[in-house]
């Protein structure tokens, strides 16, 4: 594979940039693979990459019904963090942080990882106490956490509304300095290019229409491009998991919901961190192009529509303006929606299933992007070794029936309440 480097860039500059190879091929599916990954999003691509890199399994197909980068990997707000309290989450997402830090080098693709720090605002004494507890839990798991008071926050995010007479005054915040953002398209393209170079077939515009299961064992999948055999199949189709589950006669602890995001017109640099509102659900960062990238609540009803309604956007941006009054002066550039698996405890599922050779990766709620590398890494391990890695043992499918939930937010099963 052609290496992306400053030398090659200069060389190609003299060659009118006509010598660049395609980043990944467009193969027809073979009759049989060692592993089939359904879903060519970030998690599916990362899974194929780590299957090839860590487990030397390269006879792998990724089946994608749309195109690479067209799903949630290109629709999220690019936030990366590991500021979780529960051990299962903290350790898993910290593994992800480690992989993020070396991703551009590993993939030979600049994913523009920017550890600019993420700050969760607190609006009461009780919330400061709760953040202090979460910060301590994070530190015990080796994750960086800083509790900031109001005066410290004024220095680093001066454009927040620090007035005394607001409904939700700012008391302080919890910061994870190593959190940040990355360019989401580059993550998809980088994983796709490397996976392809190691022999993985990326088959786009190929929809799964059924499964071939004999005596409780998976034998292959039926697709719009014909039947493909494989003894191991991994599902990585966040948002559409329940649709595939129905084909498998499985009912999962998941509902598919709709989440919107938006960006403003680009402005000069004003916000150096990712900041989240603590009295509702709103988060904001500034992209390298200068757009304010914003998101918040789910639309709140089951949906596969990938587009939302204005009342939710209005509600979310009202919180944004309460936090950053200057946002009210900006024009909206784009809004869009994505659909996601909302699991019943807010945590993902990476596990085997009752069907031999069928593996499940789902339930990412609205936090899947930051998990991309660790999700791929642990799912590849689960598929290759036919058992979960210790990092994803907690993300089991049976934790709901056994009561071993990982309910980080303590919200219970009402996934539409965010």
């Amino acid at each position: 594979m052609q290496k992306y480097s400053i030398l090659n860039l200069v060389k190609e500059a003299f060659n009118k940039h006509e010598g660049w190879e395609v980043a990944w091929k467009d193969p027809n599916p073979k009759k049989e693979y060692d592993v089939i990954i359904i879903g060519g999003g970030g998690h599916g691509l990362a899974t194929a990459y780590y299957l090839a890199k860590e487990h030397k399994i390269t006879n792998v197909a990724i089946i994608e019904k749309g195109w690479i980068g067209g799903g949630n990997v290109g629709r999220n707000t690019t936030i990366i963090r590991s500021n979780y309290m529960h051990d299962e989450n903290g350790l898993f997402y910290e593994k992800s942080m480690k992989l993020w830090r070396s991703m551009s080098q590993d993939l030979n693709f600049n994913v523009m990882f920017s550890p600019r720090g993420i700050i969760n605002l607190a609006h009461s004494d009780a919330q400061m106490n709760s953040y202090s507890r979460r910060g301590n839990s994070m530190r015990l798991n080796g994750i960086d956490a800083l509790l900031l008071n109001r005066e410290e926050l004024k220095k680093i995010v001066p454009m927040l509304d620090f007035s005394e007479n607001v409904r939700f005054p700012i008391f302080g915040g919890l910061m994870q300095p190593s959190g940040g953002t990355a360019r989401h398209d580059a993550v998809a393209w980088g994983y796709a290019r490397q996976a392809d170079s190691m022999g993985v077939d990326i088959i786009q515009h190929c929809e799964v229409t059924g499964f071939d299961i004999v005596n409780g064992k998976i034998k292959g999948v039926k697709t719009s491009k014909g039947e493909i055999k494989s003894k191991k199949v991994g599902l990585c189709v966040a948002g559409n998991t329940s649709v595939l589950a129905e084909m498998l006669n499985m009912t999962l602890p998941i509902e598919t919901h709709l989440l919107q995001a938006c960006v403003s017109e680009p402005i000069k640099p004003i916000l150096n961190h990712v900041v989240t509102f603590g009295a509702g659900h709103f988060y904001c960062s500034q992209s390298d192009k200068g757009e304010m990238v914003m998101g918040g609540d789910l639309d709140g009803y089951n949906s596969y529509a990938q587009r939302g309604n204005l009342p939710t956007l209005q509600h979310v941006l009202t919180e944004g303006i309460a936090m950053f009054p200057f946002l009210s002066k900006l024009k909206m550039l784009r809004t869009w929606g994505g659909i996601m698996d909302m699991s019943m405890d807010g945590s993902p599922i990476i596990d085997k299933t009752h069907i031999e050779g069928l593996y499940l990766n789902c339930g990412w709620c609205y936090g899947g992007f930051k998990a991309t590398p660790a999700s791929g890494w642990t799912f590849a391990h689960t598929i290759a070794q036919d058992r979960p890695h210790e990092l994803n043992t907690g993300y089991s499918l049976n934790r709901f029936s056994t009561g071993r939930l990982i309910d980080e937010k303590g919200l219970g099963t009402k996934t539409w309440i965010s």
Partner: protein
């Protein structure tokens, strides 16, 4: 904006309603022996179909009644609304 026809009040905007989830889920009967599997089904497992979905909404800023809504989860089209005690 969704427009939901409340069977008690008529056509109203989505802002007046709050969502209550899948209306086909039945609570296990209390005076019978209930297995862990039954509780699992009731509390956690959802079909979450792409297409027709029968769901509960509450007209919380209106008549405050719970209602049933049949809605397409792919197009957001509202196909039918019923009183909470009516069957489709």
């Amino acid at each position: 904006m969704l427009h939901i026809k409340c069977p008690h009040c008529g056509l109203r905007s989505q802002n007046e309603f709050s969502y209550g989830g899948d209306a086909t889920i039945k609570r296990p009967e209390l005076n019978k022996e209930i297995s862990d599997k039954d509780w699992d089904n009731f509390v956690y497992l959802r079909k979450s179909p792409r297409g027709k979905h029968l769901e509960l909404w509450q007209h919380i800023s209106g008549c405050r009644q719970w209602i049933k809504v049949e809605r397409d989860t792919l197009t957001h089209e509202i196909l039918k609304t019923l009183k909470a005690n009516e069957e489709i």
